[in-house]
Symmetry: D2
Subunit: 450 residues, 4 copies
């Protein structure tokens, strides 16, 4: 997962891009980068780490002058945290520089990549993002946006894209609208961002979602929009609501906070825990949902787990023995709240189950009598090929075990998942969402598993 | 404010000290340091920044070998963030190295410092901590603990102290017990820490508070305790409950979380807001108190403000214009929760009032109709000379303004502070606490203001 | 100018490559990099600065395992010190990784680059080196060495090349042999280096030059050599003798030291300075030549100028006023040697003339009575397109001025250059050398000037 | 060994101090620091490494404002390279800050240190320099210069000192003048430096040596000088001529270059090598001496050894096997010069003998037939207690072996040292020099050996 930000027509474009990345830091902590365009050339600064670490010095922005900028933060994915893959990619086309920031994942690209390789294309990175620019480079003639349009029509997958050349910005979103992308305005500037929280921080006004299959071309002060590909039923990633997005964002035209509250209420209806004394959330992603559960069930919401916000990238575990303390480093338990209580623990999802098992152990060591786990999503049984970093089938605990077996593995007294029906019942247009990770019903056909 | 940690009799003493500092990171983010003792000499590593930044490399611990270690984190204070003042101080006594970690502040030391200067003592730092070792150095004859005892009897103030030489650890606390200091056990090792959350992380068992006026001497595998000074009525810092300590800690023999909940309930009783729709906390320090307020008042607790945990030390504000966004960078508002609502905002204290004023503005911009601010402490009218970093009289908004004027300044619809009676009513032994910042009733006489 | 090093069949290949770069540090101080091949994949470490700075930590070599390695140091060139251009370049071919280290410059490549751009090739860097790999990538079928051979046959210029894939090393040199490249053996390992001083440091035995137009392919323990292109009369860069190479190296099958001594003698014959008291060299490059001049002319060699070896890359000139001290920072004068003397100053060449002018001023301030400058090369009138970093015509002082005018500019009492005849007379096969910078007689046609 | 620099009455004092340290870099590469005085307070910047590394950023000088500055570089000594010991030391006296830069070593200070410890003085460092300030601090009453004078009269040893407070600079030199210290003028500013090469770089005029036993006090624009202690026969360190000082400096009122040339001539007279073909120096310290030997003996001076100036502090030897290459990394041999030759190798001194042994081996491997080593000093048989970093008796090869045994150890064909008579015969006032390292005749009594 990643965040992207684009600023068009603002003399402080790179500074605003920085703020926009900062607001979206939760979508990617591995690295960040910004590319600015000054009409003649592009300049880039990028690095590994948090946005505030990569851009730790105001001097950096002196090297990022121009009226347009795009930015990118990168999420930690397994095995491939190469510095080259961080930040907007940059290339030399025949007569111009070009840069691209991408959220999402292309699918079924092996044969495309192979074809390009055979035709003599040299790849800088292992990213699918680079593929798009290679395809664009091989389209002869036409404007950059025409060439990009052709390139995108020859691939499939999830993509919210920002492309800039020294004097043009192009915005595009895949025909299913799998990843979010919104558009805002700040005086005479246009802002594009993965989540609206970036607009809020910048004081920009939300205009609308970039539509699935839409391309927006901004240059010379003008803005033009068209459908670069046929319109299909949207398949937004419902997991953005469950876990990924910030609760104060509006995603796919809905308030995340509102949806999460509904999740909590539906979960309370479906899976009550009438004997429980208190409702706990696994902070911070489940807070809103836990409040919904509490309010519907009339079981008191309490703060029994506190997330330690100093657990940073930089933390090192001095030795193996201490590595077992990982969950204790991440969460503090409030014994006064927990001792002798029967608790509902609301969490958003279970992937491998290891963290939840350790957390349950920690709760019991802190005096909890009984633990009822309530998960605000159905069992995650299938990997995501569209940008969410789930592991393979084999590592997904729900792919290999029934709910009762999982309850045994994580050693709690009861465990309920939200049903797919209740999940879809929480949103306005259920058929507009991709639920492949739960249902296996992939909107785009997938060939083989990574 | 600072945190201290001491580990006695453990072959991984410096690693454990690191974990103990890490758990107490909230007590000081400016710098951190650890001194280890190996029977023959001391070794130190220290630096500016977070514990995880200063100890970012496992190799560091190879240079910190020994069975004893003390650690210190330093809180940001105005104007004096000199690297020399970070971490345990180290000195060469005649026949040994000595190191000291100190939480608290000595008072009325100007004449002592002057006397030492005139007698030819050379100071490395501007700290009061160094004074203690100079006094010790000038005590002729006797053991280190006897000399430390004499030195401490010639000063006044707040001090929770850990002192080590290559083969001895000495623990001491001022006769009023102003700052916290507790003692735990992990197998055959003794642990001393400012807060019990450090014991919890290490898996150590809580034994007891170090008593006011107590000195504990650990060497050669033995542990001896005695009162090095007369016993006085304790005057614990009540502000540790209000704001500073972690809710999952036990401080002054009480659970912080429990006290904060009582604060919330007492505040709801004293200062109801019957027309409000929801209760909000200013996260994270006021969460527990807000839950108490909600539960007593039967007004629903909601999460309408989210703290952005990526606001780090390293964040830079590119220009003045963006500096006005500081509160927006720190807090996100959840519009779905706030729009059209009349809200109670529970906060722990008001110092200058500037942050709260900006926050109120932000809430209104996010659609809040009416704001009732409820503060879980009385007005802070006086500076603290015992280790809390309050500004001078002139900058304390409550020193210069009546409550109604403050309400005007921060532009909210109602404002109530908790009364001193209600505050003291929340703890078991009201006369055991220092309330000087509210009442001006300083337990130790203060000469002049900084 | 750059240095390259290749190590084949040695379990410590990257360490040896490091030593080999270290020995050749004088050929490029801007950056350095090493790529190691382990049979399956390539790994790279590179950075800006001196070899010892880039490889400052033994841990680095743990990430560079394998039986083969190539290395590269980069010389400071104007305006293009991009980190991307440092060190061996790396690319993903269809089914393998490939890396290339290159000393020299291709010429007349604009149309090739344009053709590749139009065919959709995306360039990572602005280097001519990358072009070679793009051409290789577009050659369909055949082995890597066959494809490289075809690629090289479609370009012109100076190139001493080392290419590796995970299990193969390929060595190639342009048909004119413009830049040096030699081959040595260390037990069962083959070593390739720009200069023999790298072999000496490694304790390797010199075998021979890599021949102009020769390609050597090493894989599976075997070594094969063939001419990949027709054999032409060599045109070695004679400036390697004059300035660039280390005096203890053997270059183009000749000892640099021996040639430089001949330069000095020929210069003394052509341009005596009979009234001079002493001969000085501009250290360090002119030392040997000055000794030759002294021995032939029977004028005493003295050390009157000492180079300050602490002037590093990192030195900064605090303000403009001090910038005028640059030559004083670089050279110390020994007044006892200089006062009241009439001196011959032997220098290797004059490019812009600014340093020599400042140096002459410094010598006079130190008491020198008369200065006779003797240059061990003809006037540099033309830029080099084959890898030497001379400025454009306009900046070359000898392109715009007669010798007597230059004498006036640098303010000395007499100035003589070595004649082209005397220069060529110093080497065994005069027609085997490129003298274009003096004569304008370019062995490869040049289209336009940079 | 160290260098010191002091700048009085110049608005760019810290920049000039930097240049002055830079010029004296050869006297200490381990660390550097500068303290500036602005009339009210002192500021300091210091660090480990070369001057250009420690002061790598012009911004540093913005923090070093004021009309006075002192600087210090530190030489690498065994076992005690603590960052605390680098640069001018700083202390808080009663009513002022004070800083001190010191070249030389105090002797017989154990009992003074013990007395101070017993009286309660706390030491920051293990340096003898700190002792001086402790003694000063304990002198009651009087000006800083009076107190410093009393402090210095209670110790013995070698000291060239620069002391500053916010508004005063004090310069002092021990009564024997063991280490050099000179005084210069640059417009209205006074400059004090260890060697005159610092004056030369700054463009300052040399005035005179600071006299042994002299104290100079500069404040309020005035300069006063007096003898703070009795005048004794000077005992300048003759080793400064032999090895330490730069040849272009004037030291103890003599040109180093001139003295070294005499050394070479005297050595040629005493120890000819009539069958030798060429004279080589071990660069760079022996160059001048070797020229003297060559000129007197009429044996040709040749450059057969080239020092590799890239061997920096930062170089790391990847493994033990390569450590044996250390001398090869340091020196390159020019085979064309060496092959088949019988050579005189002129070196300045032999301490342990290990480097010379490796060098001789390297020369033979490069084809040298016979090696005659000529040393421009007598055998070093005794440690120096006055600031030169010789090892203990046990490690000095000449303390344990006769000349012929040493010849065997270093494996050369002949070996001669210069006699003490010839050494003293090279200087004007032989009784004004300390020769203790050769003769064991210590001008200040030494108790015990370190």
């Amino acid at each position: 997962m990643c965040a992207i930000i684009g600023i068009y027509n603002n003399s402080e474009s790179s500074t605003l891009a920085y703020m926009g990345l900062y607001a979206q830091q939760h979508r990617g902590q591995e690295g960040a980068g910004i590319v600015a365009a000054n009409g003649i050339s592009l300049s880039r600064h990028m690095g590994e780490g948090l946005v505030s670490e990569v851009f730790s010095d105001g001097e950096i922005f002196k090297g990022l002058k121009g009226n347009m900028a795009i930015g990118h933060t990168r999420y930690s994915t397994t095995g491939n945290s190469d510095a080259k893959n961080v930040g907007p990619l940059m290339f030399n086309l025949e007569d111009t520089e070009i840069s691209i920031a991408h959220n999402g994942n292309l699918v079924n690209i092996d044969h495309v990549r192979k074809k390009l390789h055979r035709a003599g294309s040299l790849f800088q990175t292992a990213t699918d993002t680079e593929l798009i620019i290679h395809l664009l480079a091989r389209e002869v003639g036409g404007t950059i946006s025409e060439r990009l349009s052709k390139a995108l029509n020859s691939v499939q997958g999830a993509y919210s894209l920002l492309v800039i050349t020294p004097n043009e910005m192009i915005v595009a979103r895949d025909p299913r609208g799998i990843r979010p992308l919104c558009m805002g305005k700040l005086n005479d500037s246009y802002i594009f961002a993965s989540e609206t929280c970036a607009l809020d921080l910048l004081g920009a006004t939300y205009i609308r979602e970039v539509n699935p299959g839409e391309m927006i071309v901004l240059n010379g002060g003008s803005i033009k929009s068209f459908q670069f590909t046929e319109s299909l039923t949207p398949k937004h990633c419902i997991f953005e609501y469950i876990y990924f997005s910030r609760p104060d964002s509006k995603i796919f035209s809905e308030n995340v906070d509102k949806i999460r509250r509904k999740f909590g209420k539906n979960l309370a209806d479906e899976s009550p825990a009438p004997t429980a004394d208190i409702v706990l959330s696994v902070p911070d992603s489940s807070n809103t949902c836990a409040l919904g559960y509490s309010s519907r069930s009339n079981i008191k919401y309490e703060i029994g787990l506190i997330r330690n916000h100093y657990v940073g990238r930089t933390f090192i575990f001095p030795d193996q023995r201490l590595r077992d303390l990982s969950v204790r480093l991440k969460f503090n338990t409030v014994k006064g709240v927990l001792e002798g209580r029967e608790v509902v623990v609301v969490d958003d999802s279970i992937v491998r189950g290891t963290t939840l098992r350790k957390l349950a152990k920690l709760l019991k060591e802190s005096g909890v009598e009984k633990i009822h786990v309530r998960i605000s999503s159905p069992p995650v049984k299938n990997p995501c090929f569209y940008g969410m970093n789930f592991p393979t089938h084999g590592e997904l605990v729900a792919n290999n075990n029934e709910v009762d077996e999982i309850r045994n593995i994580i050693e709690v007294d009861s465990l309920s998942y939200m049903s797919l029906d209740a999940l879809l019942n929480s949103v306005d247009q259920p058929d507009h969402y991709c639920t492949a990770c739960f249902s296996g019903d992939y909107p785009l056909p997938i060939q083989g598993e990574e």
